[in-house]
Amino acid sequence: MTTADDLAAAAQRAAQHVGPGQGPVYGTQVHSAFEAEVNTLGKAHLSTEVSYLNGRVVPRGAPGSVRVDVVEGPLTAPTRVFDLKTGSARLTPARIQHIQSHIPGGNTVPVLEVRP
């Protein structure tokens, strides 16, 4: 299975675990379950909840930083970044651009949507 397949399956399991729903609370619950699923995969090339600021890996909540759901590859040289979306939420070009403006590698690193 590819990383994308693994993450799609993790998102499916997360959504099944949480059950049906909608809105921001539901989204948060699915995110939490998704991240637990990814962590359970135990894959060393995947990291969840990483914050970046101007190409730098920083602690959660650093002013101006962006926090991404899943990073594939080394944290200082990600190969791909995955953003989980639920319901009607979409990964917009503006969000992609914002993430790419802070991650190492900038716009050469694909930012991809994961959906249950």
Binding site: T28, H31, S32, E35, A36, N39, T40, L41, G42, K43, A44, S47, T48, E49, L53, N54, G55, R56, V57, V58, P59, R60, G61, A62, R67, P74, L75, T76, A77, P104, G106
Partner: protein
């Protein structure tokens, strides 16, 4: 978890970590001289009990406003996952063992500024400008003019100056490079000033 929870956890881990002290969500080797060598607890939005653990070092002569982890990595558990749970029954034993096994060898070998440059070079597998900047500035602070000048050139070569933060990094590197040969004493003063500023910004004055 909140900062006070992390501080409490850090204090309970201290017996595993000789030479470390605690400040908020961070454990670090004291005294802090030219380099911060630490372990940082970072909260997760997964739930109130989950958290991540970073081991990292950073030469303090590189201007910054934040702790950064480019010279470091997350501490992973035996299962390979990188998230820890404060409610896990064996947390202290497992995390203590992981820190002893991973963080102590990683951080303990970094004593001098040349050690910083060497350890950073070992991590420089992805042309990361922050890692290259640490190498260059550590060498400059160590007074190794020729190697520092070369490392500064390499740093500028990595940067895309259309990006504002990279442009700023390049300008600073070029300014340092232009002075390092002609006026090394001024460079030392500048690096010492940045070091002192970072110590203030990071609240480390009492731990020097």
């Amino acid at each position: 978890m909140k900062k006070k929870d992390f501080a409490a956890l850090a204090k309970r881990l201290l017996p595993h970590l000789a030479g470390f002290t605690v400040k908020g969500p961070m454990l670090f080797i004291q005294p802090v001289k030219h380099t911060l060598r630490g372990i940082y607890f970072e909260g997760s939005s997964f739930d109130a009990r989950s958290f991540y653990v970073w081991m990292f070092f950073m030469p303090l002569c590189v201007p910054t406003n934040h702790v950064g982890f480019n010279l470091g990595r997350r501490v992973r558990g035996v299962g390979g996952g990188d998230r820890w749970n404060a409610a896990a029954p064996n947390l202290l034993a497992e995390l203590g063992a992981a820190l002893k096994h991973e963080a102590l060898p990683f951080l303990g070998g970094i004593e001098s500024l040349h050690d910083v440059a060497k350890a950073a070079t070992a991590l420089q597998t992805s042309q990361d400008p922050y890692v290259q900047e640490a190498i260059a500035y550590a060498l400059a602070r160590a007074g190794d003019v020729a190697q520092a000048a070369m490392a500064l050139d390499q740093l500028v070569g990595l940067l895309d100056e259309k990006v504002p933060w990279q442009c700023e990094m390049a300008d600073r590197a070029r300014a340092l490079k232009s002075q390092i040969v002609s006026n090394p004493a001024d460079v030392q003063r500048q690096l010492a000033a940045w070091e002192a500023e970072n110590v203030r910004n990071l609240g480390l004055e009492a731990f020097r």
